[in-house]
């Protein structure tokens, strides 16, 4: 696909930057020190109408627009354009829209929202066009492993971090025997696999798993199967509506009393939607919480005033990633894909989303992850006061180490 994916490349760290700079020079005329066609064009493709639209959706587009407006306020005179589209959770719609924008609209940056399948499809198109692709809402760790490209950045979280943070914490707290309820598609399977590895590595054991189809509205029979396993922990390797309905069924059938429920991927929007009575005490991994700092609170308030909901970590990631990209374009003096990628990978990220974070050579954004616990109704002070911090896990420990990476083009 691209020459820098050739395996067996060896050298030292500056080599990559040099290679990227060289590629930028070779990329052809017109890229030097200015914007292609006079404007920076950002495209955002996510689920805007279905199960994942609350945690990203059109409000994610609003977060991106906020970043554009903030950047423009300091850099007037730059033309920045935002295009958004709904991929309806279909990978083919996502990739054909991306291709259309790259070919006909002069797209410079593609931001991928929720859905791993859609992101895996879009990153291929972006790499082909040599343009940056920042995936924010998708979970699959393949984006920076087997399926990595020199143009992909994976920003907010991934399945390995979820497994390490939540899984690790639960096993260390004594939850040794696990049973999984897994959504039967790429995302659920890799979450189950990654978490099983963490459980075993920490001395726990996995007693079994039941795979349910995506959008399986009724979970009662899966609950009976989980209960029969005799495991202490029920790991929910699913997301969105499936997690919500599984938790409801677990409460109804008394599973929530006999086993401990662990939602491996939960968002504050899910907790808000289920209510604290059903979710209290559950652990979850958050890449960012709206009230984690003064800065994040201030930003979240601005977001809330526009959307009337508090932002999820994905929406905050949308904002942060856009801002980082625009600053990289400014610093590099061009919107050429290779030059901007090189700039992004050598810049430390310090904003309301992350502190002293960085984008690794495989495209993984390394930042602190937060193990949080859902509050009880008595502890909660306000409508969106939903979780309390248990532990901050440093990015290097939460994410896969570069040594374990299966990304073919990186240098180990």
């Amino acid at each position: 696909m691209s020459r820098s994916r050739t395996p067996g490349v060896s050298g030292t760290s500056p080599w990559l930057a040099a290679a990227a700079a060289l590629l930028a020079l070779l990329a052809g005329p017109g890229q030097a020190q200015k914007l292609s066609d006079g404007a920076i064009r950002i495209g955002f493709i996510t689920d805007m109408s279905s199960v994942y639209s609350d945690l990203d959706g059109s409000a994610g587009g609003i977060a991106i627009q906020m970043a554009i407006d903030d950047f423009k306020a300091k850099n007037p005179g730059l033309a920045i354009e935002l295009m958004t589209a709904d991929h309806q959770n279909k990978a083919d719609i996502a990739s054909s829209k991306a291709r259309e924008w790259f070919d006909q609209k002069g797209l410079d940056l593609l931001i991928g929202g929720t859905n791993s399948g859609a992101s895996l499809a879009m990153k291929t198109v972006a790499a082909e066009k040599k343009k940056p692709f920042i995936s924010i809402g998708a979970g699959t760790s393949k984006l920076t492993n087997e399926e990595c490209t020199p143009y992909t950045v994976h920003y907010a979280y991934d399945t390995i971090a979820l497994a390490n943070v939540t899984g690790g914490a639960v096993v260390r707290a004594g939850g040794k025997s696990w049973y999984f309820l897994t959504a039967d598609y790429a995302f659920g399977q890799s979450l189950e696999k990654d978490t099983s590895a963490v459980v075993s590595a920490n001395g726990g054991k996995v007693l079994g798993a039941v795979r349910h189809p995506l959008n399986a509205s009724d979970f009662s029979s899966f609950m009976l199967q989980a209960q029969a396993s005799g495991a202490q922990i029920l790991g929910l390797a699913n997301a969105g509506g499936d997690t919500i309905n599984a938790i409801k069924a677990a409460n109804e059938f008394g599973v929530a009393g006999s086993m401990k429920l662990v939602g491996l991927l939960m968002f504050n929007t899910d907790v808000h939607s289920l209510g604290l009575e059903l979710t209290k005490g559950m652990y979850m991994t958050d890449g960012w919480t709206w009230n984690q700092s003064e800065e994040s609170r201030a930003w979240s308030k601005r977001f809330f005033d526009k959307v009337k909901r508090m932002p999820s970590m994905v929406q905050a990631g949308d904002y942060s990633a856009t801002l980082q990209y625009l600053q990289a374009v400014k610093a590099a003096g061009t919107d050429d894909g290779d030059a901007v990628m090189a700039q992004l990978k050598k810049t430390r990220i310090n904003d309301m989303f992350a502190k002293d974070a960085y984008i690794r050579q495989d495209g993984r954004m390394i930042h602190d992850m937060r193990l949080v616990q859902v509050k009880t109704p008595a502890e909660s002070q306000a409508e969106w006061d939903l979780v309390k911090l248990v532990e901050i896990v440093p990015g290097e420990k939460a994410y896969q180490s570069l040594a374990d990476s299966k990304c073919p083009f990186i240098r180990k």
């Binding site: 279905s50 349910h212 009724d218 009662s220 009976l224 059938f253 008394g254």
Partner: protein, 295 residues
């Protein structure tokens, strides 16, 4: 302990019972569809959206009016049924003389509109709805713990289904309804107000969908897309039972719930497709459905 194909008998019994619970939802929804199709010849694609509206209305009643589960169990079907009557009078009525497809397109369009509106007002992840005080807790049956609320759902659905079947097949009112479908002109000549009969029938079918929605609210998350997942299965149920057959819809609904429950034990990933496999087989062997009349 005895077992069947490696699955312990108590576990199997438990799954059968759960299948029956789901089956009673299918029965209630497909009953509404079958009544509407049988008497109006309209394929009501908006049934799922109406079911969702029933659940949402129950939630709104609790949220904005302080009305609990019990009043809403009656009020929500009435309110949604009234909307159905309005919809039939203003729009659906104009399409009776045309091909089935027009009715299908109208109701499908209405579905998209309704779901879109609810999503933009309430978001996609939905609202929690508690189980009513009186029906909380569970009963230990020895082989499983059955939440009392689920048992209640089975009882209510079966009663409503039986009553509907009785009214349509065994009473003078039902006889008029059937006559009105068979030969509207002749029935009119006997002094029966056929258009009003049809309007009320549509309203009743819609109310059944809304009732199923209220029943489902405490079990499932109340959210704008809850109907679109269910409606396809329910259509399959109606096709398997035989389009328009009341008894067929009820019995097939229950039976398919059980088949699905068993699939969840023996091959979980197949549980969402098994209904359609059955549908394909039935259509191959008996194109009019299990209980349908060959025409």
């Amino acid at each position: 302990m005895s077992s069947v194909l490696g699955v312990p008998l108590p576990a199997l019994l438990a799954q059968l019972l759960l299948g029956l619970v789901n089956g009673s939802f299918y029965a209630l929804l497909s009953l509404g569809l079958a009544v509407i199709f049988g008497l109006l010849n309209v394929i009501n694609f908006s049934h799922g959206a109406l079911y969702m509206m029933g659940a949402m209305t129950a939630w709104m009643g609790a949220q904005y009016l302080g009305l609990g589960y019990w009043p809403m169990l009656v009020l929500a079907p009435l309110a949604i049924g009234a909307l159905g009557v309005l919809f039939e009078r203003l729009l659906l009525r104009r399409l009776y003389g045309l091909d089935h497809l027009y009715g299908l397109l109208l109701t499908f369009g209405a579905t998209l509109l309704i779901e879109g509106l609810f999503r933009s007002f309430f978001g996609a992840s939905g609202q929690p709805y508690p189980v009513p005080e009186l029906l909380r807790g569970s009963a230990n049956l020895g082989f499983m713990v059955l939440p009392i609320y689920r048992a209640w759902v089975v009882v209510v659905s079966l009663l409503i289904c039986a009553a509907t079947w009785f009214v349509i097949e065994r009473t003078p009112l039902g006889a008029r309804l059937r006559a009105g479908t068979e030969n509207p002109a002749l029935t009119k000549a006997f002094g029966v107000n056929v258009p009003r009969l049809i309007t009320l029938t549509y309203g009743f079918g819609v109310a059944l969908a809304a009732l199923a929605g209220v029943l489902a609210a405490p079990i499932l998350q109340v959210q704008p897309l809850m109907g679109s997942n269910l409606i396809i299965v329910v259509f399959a149920v109606v096709v398997i039972g035989g389009m328009g057959s009341i008894a067929g819809a009820i019995l097939t609904g229950l039976a398919l719930g059980v088949v699905e429950g068993l699939t969840r034990v023996f091959y979980p990933p197949g549980s969402s497709t098994v209904v359609f496999v059955v549908m394909a087989l039935v259509l191959l062997l008996r194109p009019a459905g299990l209980f349908g009349r060959q025409t």
